[in-house]
Amino acid sequence: MHISEIKSELLNEKYYKVKHDSGLTIYVYPKEGYSSTYAIFGTKYGSINNAFRVDNKDVVRVPDGIAHYLEHKLFESEDGDAFSRYAKTGANANAYTSFDKTCYLFSCTDNFEDSLEILLDFVQSPYFTEETVAKEQGIIGQEIKMYDDSPSWRVMFNMLMNMYHAHPVRIDIAGTVESIAEITPEYLYTCYNTYYNLNNMVLCVCGNTTLDTVLSIADKMLKKNEYHKIENIFEDEDDSVVSPYVEQCLPVGLPLFNLGFKEKAGKKRPDVKTLACSEILLFLLASSTSTLYRKLMDENLINASFSYEYMEGEGFLATIFSGESHDPKKVATIIKDYIQQMKKTGISEEEFEIAKRATYGDCIAALNSTDHIANLMADFYFSDREIFEYIDAISDATLDDVTDRLNNMFDIEKSTLSVIKNAE
């Protein structure tokens, strides 16, 4: 077992990173004075992993929506579900599936050890039968339908479907009513055995606990897993977008839009420096302090719902501007013109400094929250980053670095606009 202590002089805080003998990586971030503790047990396996190869054997392809289906099914075991076990400890438990990870979590103020045992136990105890798999189709079917009616969800996926030709980030995380009908216990076991190997997982704990407490439970609950090489298979993705515009009609009071810029992505995810500079750039470009935001507001084109996001994962990288507008096309034109203009004139030192400070402050403030820290540690582990290095990268960022990002992040030719509006 290897334990490293990771410190921040600036914040006067530290956390531990442990490579456990079982193969699992464990992060423990103690928070003095907090009453709650938040724990996440996650696997680097999400909706985009629908084709894979283990130890150079044959490629396996599985139906869409399996990662999410597994998330639902793991809560169940032969003798009742995990929720009823947590009911005895008082923990508040949940789980989520994203494009590239599935995380099981709980927060608690009492009985932490018992809750951690439950978490480590149920995620490691798959139990699927024809009957239980079939039963879940009703609940997940309703979940899919709820999202089909959600304009903010649809506007994003329509955009992704129009941005990516082949990469599975274009597919809804839960799959479709049709694809989940193909799911069998065998598929679930195949995916489970591949991705729920402890070498492919992480446990992150933040709050009112100690390293020793977490390790004693880990020693008790984890058995050594043999390492296997997992390769995620993605078809080649063309640099272009599928088409520059898509719209769908849904009952809405105000049209919604997502404007996405596609960036060339590799297998390796961006490092802390690239991530920090992208966040600073987006702040100076589109936050409420920016000239662009002001212009869009003054022309009555956006409202407070306007936001931006740098979305990245294995094989996908995109910047997304989203919001509500009576004229999304005009918003898109103004944003693109503004970016072109900024590429010509460059970024002012003042704008850069303000954006850097604000990004830095946001990042510090976010470290108040145990759930934010635990989620960030999990995400950063899967992308090979460390939290304190990221904070340093923000304070070390230079105007040149950020200008460099400006030139790489936005290719107007590779942008696509998605709109949801009311039927005429």
């Binding site: 608690c108 009555n300 303000i354 954006a355």
Partner: protein, 429 residues
């Protein structure tokens, strides 16, 4: 832990301090409580938004935003909500603690001064709010009202409440009406602002590590310049439903929504409020509740089915998203679970598990700055303000008999369904 110290500034103006060294940020919020009234609600809502847009010292939205960004991304915001038949306008500011400044600024001092500036010294032109500033916020508020329709889960529960409380002030939207937002003039907003300063009850909540006495002094001196006659705040409680109101709306959706509104007979400041909270949570407040286990998991009828309790009004809402042909079945299943509770079919495990998860929620709510602020703010109109520990003790003193007694008081008032029609399936048929 997270103890609240209340200090009176003047009649109905109180400064609350929660001293906390655990966090990296300080947050100050000022909430003005006014009677929820159809003639003033829209003006108040719009006024609250215009105030945080600029101030005399930073008379422009972008200038003010840059000031905030240079304070390490401090954030200033305002919002309005209903707490019973009361409209609450909240202005808040937060920023990182002085000790994290990259140079030696005193951020906490700047935060309290800036918050006072926007509330007491707005940017005025010829003695009125600037028409352009008003227009921008008006447009955005109208956008927000229009966009509330987008998420059908929120839309359907709000619709159910407006049907249920059509004869009560609570039936008014938290922003009044769209028509009144459109009609509000700079003069109306000025009057609303003056009215707020003179008549609202104010609660100032300071959460942070740095000394709050300076902020206290700033607010104390600003309020001492105003002659005040605070309004009386009341909330009407309808104890039980006479008959069931049933309404349906068809919409082009793939999933239907079923909302059931109940009268509970118990509302603040009744001694039994905590017992109703427990009862509501046993029914549908957790992932081990009756509704989750039986209606979602066993019957596989819906992805969500949950209950919530509005303690200021004594209302319980049960919400679910279901297939159109399952609406009746789900309704029967929900009523069946309530009937079971009324008959005492509740296990000790259910009671204990729910108590534990409520305790967990009370304690955890005070592990963030925003959480502490919301936890106490939500209690400002209650009969008693509980610390998390006191709330937990109160829950733990309750028994199954208390839960059954409260369940027996439930009367169904309103059933609202949003029925999905012309979905893809319909077209195929």
């Amino acid at each position: 832990m997270s103890k609240l110290i209340r200090r009176s500034i003047t009649d109905s103006v109180t400064f609350n301090t929660i001293k906390e060294s655990r966090f990296k940020t300080t947050r100050i919020s000022v909430t003005a409580f006014l009677p929820l009234d159809i003639t003033t609600a829209a003006n108040n809502a719009l006024m609250s938004l215009v105030l945080t847009r600029s101030c005399e010292k930073y008379p422009d939205f972008t200038v003010l935003s840059r000031k905030l960004s240079s304070l390490y991304g401090a954030s200033l915001s305002s919002g309005f909500r209903k707490m019973g038949d009361v409209q609450a306008l909240t202005f808040s500011i937060s920023g990182i603690d002085d000790r994290f400044a990259l140079s030696d600024e005193i951020i906490s001092k700047e935060l309290s001064t800036l918050l006072c500036d926007v509330i007491f010294n707005p940017f005025l032109k010829d003695g009125l709010f600037d028409i352009n500033e008003c227009e921008q916020e008006r447009r955005q508020l109208i956008d927000m009202i229009d966009a509330e329709f987008n998420e059908k889960r929120i839309y359907s529960s709000q619709k159910a409440l407006s049907i249920m409380c059509s004869d009560e002030a609570y039936g008014i939207n938290r922003y009044g009406t769209k028509e009144d937002v459109i009609a509000a003039t700079p003069q109306d907003l000025y009057t609303a602002w003056q009215n707020m300063l003179k008549k609202a009850r104010f609660e100032i909540i300071y959460v942070g590590d740095s000394d709050s006495s300076m902020a206290f002094d700033v607010f104390n001196s600003r309020f001492s310049e105003i002659s005040r006659t605070p309004s009386v705040l009341n909330t009407q409680v309808v104890k039980c439903a006479e008959n069931v109101k049933v309404e349906n709306e068809d919409m082009e959706l793939s999933q239907s929504k079923l909302i059931m509104g109940f009268r509970t007979e118990i509302a603040e400041p009744d001694e039994d409020v905590m017992a109703v909270r427990l009862m509501c949570s046993v029914l549908g407040g957790t992932a081990h509740s009756k509704l989750f286990c039986n209606v979602r998991e066993k019957l596989s009828l819906c992805y969500y089915c949950s209950s919530s309790y509005i303690r200021s009004k004594g209302i319980m809402l049960v919400e679910s998203g279901v297939e159109r042909e399952n609406i009746e079945k789900t309704k029967e299943a929900i009523l069946g679970e309530i009937k079971a509770m009324q008959n005492g079919e509740i296990t000790d495990e259910e009671i204990e598990a729910t108590k534990m998860s409520m305790a967990n929620a009370f304690y955890s709510s005070c592990d963030t700055v925003g959480g502490i602020n919301s936890y106490y703010l939500s209690q400002m109109l209650d009969g008693t303000i509980y610390t998390p520990q006191q709330a937990v003790d109160k829950v733990n003193s309750l028994t199954k008999e208390d839960v059954v007694r409260c369940a027996k008081k439930l009367t169904l008032d309103t059933v609202f369904t949003l029925t999905g029609v012309q979905s893809l399936e319909d077209k195929e048929v």
